[in-house]
């Protein structure tokens, strides 16, 4: 699968500011991110990581500044090529995994079953599992949530804390999947507190602090000791 020819820049933000009342979650962030790479976003709570993803996903309009996603200044216009995974599961607890995915596939105009089944298999789950998502373990739920985000083979994947409360085996499987998607040309942003899990596949580490991007580094280790 090659969702897009590699773009010069998958995401560009200019003077991006997002304020909630008196609290500035993002403060005049300007940055460019090349396509086909995997970025890991790091920072303490309240650094603006999740807000950045929400703005890029089109869920939160910026207070000021501009965003360009996949060559378009309107996120809405390219939203069918963006996948978003949030901290909550974004799934209906009362339905099985396959039922959930079939519904969300419809939202993207995908009506054939095999696509949904393949997405579930890709994250290492059984599509025929009859259990409702509400009875899944946290790790299974996170994987199903990832399946929902990448089911329509997006060119840009935004993942907020995909590994929280996930067992090591699941996390490793998810990491490998992200690596192979990146190799196929998908641009991936991962917000996480567990950056070491992604050391093998990450292209760049983006360090955020108090609503700003502080620095961008190639490796994780160098900065931890610094």
């Amino acid at each position: 699968m090659n969702p897009t020819a590699p773009l010069p820049s998958a995401v560009i933000v200019r003077d991006l500011t997002k304020q909630f009342g008196r609290f500035a979650a993002l403060r005049q962030v300007s940055a460019e991110f090349a396509g086909g790479k995997l970025y890991v976003i790091l920072g303490e709570n309240g650094a603006g990581k999740s807000t950045l993803l929400r703005v890029l996903a089109g869920l939160a309009p910026p207070s000021s500044g501009a965003v360009e996603v996949l060559g378009s200044s309107s996120v809405r216009a390219v939203c069918h090529r963006v996948g978003y995974m949030a901290h909550p599961s974004l799934l209906y607890d009362e339905m099985s995994g396959l039922e959930n995915l079939r519904y969300f596939a419809h939202l993207y105009g995908i009506t054939d079953m095999p696509v949904c089944r393949r997405a579930i298999e890709e994250v290492g789950l059984d599509p025929d599992l009859p259990r409702a998502v509400g009875q899944y373990s946290q790790g299974m739920r996170q994987r199903m949530s990832l399946a929902r985000a990448l089911m329509h083979t997006p060119a840009l994947l935004l993942l907020d804390e995909p590994f929280s409360n996930v067992d090591v085996a699941s996390a490793r499987a998810m990491t490998q999947l992200l690596g192979s998607r990146r190799d196929a040309g998908t641009t991936i942003f991962v917000v996480t507190h567990q950056a070491q899990l992604l050391q093998q596949v990450a292209d760049e580490f983006v360090w955020m602090h108090a609503g700003r991007i502080e620095k961008r580094t190639r490796t994780l280790a160098a900065e931890v000791s610094a």
């Binding site: 500011t17 304020q19 909630f20 008196r22 609290f23 979650a25 403060r27 108090a210």
Partner: protein
């Protein structure tokens, strides 16, 4: 206080005083209703003023939805609040008039009831503004204002059909009104409108000032270095 405001306040005060004099002294006593009819010079101008303010609120709401202009939202909140005050005056003076004249406090007549429904709609508008978080208030309120406006003709029609017991329109009823009564009515309307605009002006400035303070805090949070949480 700016001199412009003081001047405007003095003019409004003089207008209201002149209006009072006209209503109580100059206008002749109505033959059947007696002196109680003089409340008419306050009832009707308040109603006209309230309706005008609600109309401005509707315009400002659309303007906000199209342009997302914060000033339009400030106009909307101002006119809604002041409009509700004048609408309340209408609803209080109506029964005061009705009791001696018709022998009942309240009647489900079309104009009085429509005014009551209008008042209910705008009180719910103010409640919505109060109960929604700051960032979303303007959009939600503007949407509700459009619902309210679309509702008014339907309210009027339904209640008119339901029951109409009001004295047939006194105004424009074929010259039955004494010219001095007309004069008193118009003077009072001008005075009330001027008074309403004065209050609106104050409220609007207060609102803009509040927003300026909020923006200054927001800007401080933006440039401040340590801890973006205040």
């Amino acid at each position: 206080m700016k001199p412009g405001f003081v001047l405007a306040a003095v003019v409004v005060f003089l207008l209201l005083t002149y209006g009072l004099y006209q209503a109580l002294e100059v206008a002749p006593t109505e033959q059947t209703m007696g002196d109680v009819q003089r409340i008419f010079y306050y009832h009707v101008p308040s109603a006209w003023t309230a309706f005008l303010l609600f109309f401005v609120n509707f315009g400002a709401s659309i303007w906000y939805l199209v342009r997302r202009n914060p000033a339009a939202d400030a106009v909307a909140v101002t006119t809604a609040e002041v409009g509700v005050v004048f609408c309340t005056i209408v609803l209080v003076t109506g029964p005061l008039w009705a009791r001696p004249v018709w022998g009942i406090w309240w009647t489900w007549d079309a104009r009085l009831t429509s005014t009551l429904v209008l008042w209910l709609i705008y009180v719910s508008y103010l409640m919505l503004r109060r109960f929604s978080s700051d960032a979303q208030t303007p959009v939600l309120a503007a949407a509700l204002a459009i619902f309210g406006f679309a509702d008014v003709p339907l309210v009027y029609l339904s209640i008119w059909f339901f029951r109409t017991q009001h004295p047939q329109p006194v105004v424009g009823g074929g010259g039955s009104l004494d010219p001095r009564m007309w004069h008193a009515l118009l003077i009072n309307w001008v005075a009330f409108l001027a008074f309403a605009l004065l209050v609106c002006w104050l409220r609007y400035r207060l609102e803009m000032l509040k927003r300026a303070v909020e923006n200054a805090h927001a800007a401080a949070a933006l440039t401040g270095d340590s801890g973006s949480r205040r």
